[in-house]
Symmetry: D2
Subunit: 432 residues, 4 copies
Amino acid sequence: MSQIKKVVLAYSGGLDTSVILKWLQDEYKCEVVTFTADIGQGEELEPARAKAKAAGVKSIYIDDLREEFVRDFVFPMFRANTVYEGEYLLGTSIARPLIAKRLVEIARAEKADAISHGATGKGNDQVRFELGAYALMPNVKIIAPWREWDLTSREKLLAYADTHGIPVDFKKRKGESPFSMDANLLHISYEGGILEDPAAAPPEKGMWRLTVSPEKAPSKPELVELQFERGDLVAINGQRMKAHELLAELNRLGGKHGVGRLDLVENRYVGMKSRGCYETPGGTILLRAHRAIESLTLDREVAHLKDELMPRYASLVYNGYWWSPERTALQVLIDHTQERVNGTVTLKLFKGNVIITGRSSADSLFDAKIVTFEEDEGAYDQADAGGFIKLNALRMRIAASKAQAERPRRAAAKKAAPAKPAAKPAARKPTA
Amino acid sequence: MSQIKKVVLAYSGGLDTSVILKWLQDEYKCEVVTFTADIGQGEELEPARAKAKAAGVKSIYIDDLREEFVRDFVFPMFRANTVYEGEYLLGTSIARPLIAKRLVEIARAEKADAISHGATGKGNDQVRFELGAYALMPNVKIIAPWREWDLTSREKLLAYADTHGIPVDFKKRKGESPFSMDANLLHISYEGGILEDPAAAPPEKGMWRLTVSPEKAPSKPELVELQFERGDLVAINGQRMKAHELLAELNRLGGKHGVGRLDLVENRYVGMKSRGCYETPGGTILLRAHRAIESLTLDREVAHLKDELMPRYASLVYNGYWWSPERTALQVLIDHTQERVNGTVTLKLFKGNVIITGRSSADSLFDAKIVTFEEDEGAYDQADAGGFIKLNALRMRIAASKAQAERPRRAAAKKAAPAKPAAKPAARKPTA
Amino acid sequence: MSQIKKVVLAYSGGLDTSVILKWLQDEYKCEVVTFTADIGQGEELEPARAKAKAAGVKSIYIDDLREEFVRDFVFPMFRANTVYEGEYLLGTSIARPLIAKRLVEIARAEKADAISHGATGKGNDQVRFELGAYALMPNVKIIAPWREWDLTSREKLLAYADTHGIPVDFKKRKGESPFSMDANLLHISYEGGILEDPAAAPPEKGMWRLTVSPEKAPSKPELVELQFERGDLVAINGQRMKAHELLAELNRLGGKHGVGRLDLVENRYVGMKSRGCYETPGGTILLRAHRAIESLTLDREVAHLKDELMPRYASLVYNGYWWSPERTALQVLIDHTQERVNGTVTLKLFKGNVIITGRSSADSLFDAKIVTFEEDEGAYDQADAGGFIKLNALRMRIAASKAQAERPRRAAAKKAAPAKPAAKPAARKPTA
Amino acid sequence: MSQIKKVVLAYSGGLDTSVILKWLQDEYKCEVVTFTADIGQGEELEPARAKAKAAGVKSIYIDDLREEFVRDFVFPMFRANTVYEGEYLLGTSIARPLIAKRLVEIARAEKADAISHGATGKGNDQVRFELGAYALMPNVKIIAPWREWDLTSREKLLAYADTHGIPVDFKKRKGESPFSMDANLLHISYEGGILEDPAAAPPEKGMWRLTVSPEKAPSKPELVELQFERGDLVAINGQRMKAHELLAELNRLGGKHGVGRLDLVENRYVGMKSRGCYETPGGTILLRAHRAIESLTLDREVAHLKDELMPRYASLVYNGYWWSPERTALQVLIDHTQERVNGTVTLKLFKGNVIITGRSSADSLFDAKIVTFEEDEGAYDQADAGGFIKLNALRMRIAASKAQAERPRRAAAKKAAPAKPAAKPAARKPTA
């Protein structure tokens, strides 16, 4: 432990990372640099600075990363219509590689030899932080106190805080905030506590913060128009804004109308199932709208290729491989497909619903002249379909004909010889 | 045309197939056998019998296929969480292979040499009918009047009907039902008319039939409990029913609460984009609930494998390859994965929302003891995660180290030689 | 037929396209422009010019496309390690999109309204020509005489030639060249004749032209060194050459040593199986060498991603979708992965064998320090593997534990209730 | 260490596992049960028994697993045409899950609480052993001495052996066997020593044991006929044999003719590249022959589906996930596809070459009547191809037409507004 001279800590100012800050100073006898990012979590950052100062930290980094977060991480991910396991919009996952990148940049600038974070040894976030850091700075040392120390319960943590004069929030002490939360511009997640029983519904009160419930949302629908360029949202209701402002505005709209609550069981990369509740109001709208504009502007086979690659891309993001060469390779393909994904989507928000009401684009591949049920004046020759079907059927027809011709021979063979039992699937778990 | 002696016609009793019936008799001088199926489209079938009789049909088949439809087609498809292009639940697609199968069975029983249907030459349904028929009866002749005749407009069709004494519904004549519709137990689809403009919202009135709008749905949520066995729904609120009764009940529940409306642009197999509106109240609930029970009972990698294969499976169903060997091969895999997909899902229906509130199963793979944020008494050793991450990072660390070491050499090489331009992507469309 | 004014014909100067030339002039009463390409088929082109002139053609295009062929089509395809159905190196397929492109360019330059080719209606080449042409010139008319005319046998073709004074090669008349062949810089293919029986071995004599048999190849091995940059071959034995010269030299080397003969049954896009024999001496060497240099320089996950996408890419090329947006999207990914695929491969050619003997690269990701069986001085901490394995095993351990715990309950349940028969796979072909 | 009472050791009788046996007895103070398997490695097993006895082992298991190995592991894998990273036939990988299964069975029978093996912490084999064991016996303790002890060099190992009276082979002491080898009925692998330089060719002498070199192979080819049923080899030259006898005979044939040597760089699951040389004479023949019989009997789309899934299946086997639910799910699909993979393949072995010369099957889907270049008497209507191509081209034609129509508008827009720079790929590694 004595080899570390300077460590950069991802520091929120909360209880856990405050304890870690102290613990690093005491156990590693090293200088700690703190890094606190604004990624839209909606909390004041200045208290973190004050606390760090009070703890004797000399180099304190507090960065507004909101625009970079949305522009370079959230939007590229949405170009792929990314959803993990059919439901989860990856709100936590997508923020981690940015934090990892910034930790490494600061470590370089500060000539630090290690980085540290407050993620536990059971979760995905440790993996996301560390895979990112290793990929960007291969020789970095990483200190993950939750995997090292013996403060394995809340009581021990509070006792440590008390012993070392670390201020503890009143609610924390009372255990009144029973969830483990993570917040940023894309979402808030809730885990732990009562949610550890997947059969139990989440509590109506004390949890959801970005959205009202559908029940309490306005009973009047609201129409919204979203404009896309190269697959990215660029304007809401005609108003161009920066990426992070757009997402904030979508959050406001979605949150008001009860859009984007999720309650699910997911499979963590470390091998266990976990239950989480998520609010992703803006992201939920964005996903539907992006699919809608793609439906008009993307070639069928390109769209299907994207759909088939998406689960793998989603797993890469979920598992922390943002900075991997395979994620980059997929991104190059995805970004290429978005060149003509331009246009406008109108939608209606109402009590949890995102209802697409129209899409239009100068790059539309929709050809009303060809698709019409009315006279098409020769735009499409229906007779072509006969040949199309017959050649697509040919292999199946040949197989069926051969099978018919084979049948008598097989029947005879069967009669002649006693039936050989069907080959059993070769490999089965032993009845362990 | 003279070679055909007997043809089995998929006959609804409506205007189009009534014209086809007459046209087949006249043009092909052949006997026509009619086949009308109840797949839950919600229409009386006896009028079809009367009309067929009146048209001189001797062999009239009217079959209740509702249970077979849901049990052997809809449910297997939902085991795969099948969604086409991210949105469409394949309500029309999944009914066609059953019709094709029954047409072929009747053709065999009647020793008919051809089958016929009323699908147009622009759509997917002709492909689905015909691929199915060819796969099951390789030498069958298929007559698709819309690809042959010259009744290429509504006016010509009505004129033909009038000339031949085919009764025309008053509304049809007035053009008051401006949509092309398809209905069965899984959904109703609407295409054509005003919907041919993808920028235009569907009309509030005169279209949706299975669902109320979310706005008009009850303002009181309703809780529902769904029970699954081997991936299939077996009971609602504790009540076991037949497959088709279950789906009908889900439709009732979803329809009442405004669940399952869709408005989308899709890519047809014949190469064009088309716009459709769909109501799939029961299917929408079923998909969410099936995913929820899988989230608890399915291994992570099996679930991901299914997710990666799903788009391909969906395309096979959409494109009409139900009776193909590749669909069967995928089904064998999918069905195998469902052996432990048992348990109960509770959900809340409210104004278009399907809100999962809990899931439980004797086959649950959720391990609260391991995932807990509290003391786990050694169920999970957090230290393991360090090695897990380090080996997963190793290839990226090696690459980054090598790249760092290479950098000075490359820089020197660059200085020595003038930069070679980057290899251009090889294949580009010429500036046509 | 009277609407066509000018047609560009892909013209080889052989019997078939000479008949087509005449037939087009007679049947369509239109001007015919001929286009003959040198893609390394190893035939004189001037006779084609003379024949075209003699047939009254005014615009005659004879182009040397060898460099473009190898640089922009063959090499990009080899970047993907492309093999169709595990065996076929796509020698014919990859030449067609280039011909299609040039046909369209000439049609534009000549203001022609149609193009024509000599491919039959049973094969893949018609599809490759026409998909390419349609993608590049959407309103082009395409005349495929083999699908239109009644010259459906060799006798009829010869009779037509005689009637119209088209010179017929003596051998052709005698039927002494019993194969349908296609040749270019990448390969020669042989189909038809005796090869139509997949149980019959190809004849030892009269067929193979680019390669000696392994039996007759030199009994002394030859060492070759291949240098790659960005995934493309750039030098052989230290000698930099143009792309088409490199492939010609590889053909010479491979041909001399009996490398690259293939005899296979493949699945055509039009739905039938066909048997073909192929000689691809240079391509066979190139594929092995490219894999070898990638094995050293490509990240594992990127390599695996390429391997999983390859069959789809190969099908696109085989089926004629070179000019499709999905092929381009995959190419963008593939090309991106090749940025560091630089280095040298040494191999030994001997009687049909291509034996890799070494690979080296400044971009190597091979780390001898880490992989060594000897002391590694801490480069790799073996203890990490324990955690790696334990977390990768976790989901299986949980499942096995749960299954163990469940067993008594299940056994009891089974005892209580008579066994329900296993759910049968839902969809089966009816015993047609 | 004191908790372990009884451990089952995978014991070869060689130096390494003999040291481990002693070390386990000394360090863990536990009873050691030895297990030695005959999987065709070609070594006497009785010496292992004698050595175990001498070391005081009471329970000694020596099992002939050759038939189970080939029937239940090798053959199922070959049904998938499994190749890892385009080259490696997985000879080592496929044996490990069988060893793991037997270790667990013995542990259960002996009521042992742990298992142990001699694989190092750098390789894949530790993963394969342990993932298998954990999947089959979730609470098993695993002792991997190479990850625990301090015998980190050959010298220390020899010293330990000498100290504890473990006999050391003379060659071993001299370091005359410079490779790490693994042998079974499917292959022999060589790693380490001079092979750790991927640029160096493997030595001509002292390494290859199953095969002669192509140079030294007979100059007379040998014809072989292989018969398949349900995708598995069942007879050679008309002679039915047990699975392991068949593979042994293929090894003899291939070995005699110099077939099946490989020299490659592969990506290990633990994250590093390694260089290996492999001899797989029988497997090389089997793979080619299996592909040949599939080419005749397998539907195109099923074959392509298998090809696309194969790399993933290969990775699962390579990485040690044989006993995982995802491998089983894939196997179920693969086995299903093999139902009609019956028939006979003839091939020629000659100096390293496996040359397919014919294939035939009662289940052949090859239809000579349809594919023929001669008159087909209406078996195939060439005119169908026109419609097939036109509908497959439709989406590309629409896109090209739209792009043409858009061009003037875009040009005008460009003129009006200064060009916006192209969106950069979102995520790039910082210039670390």
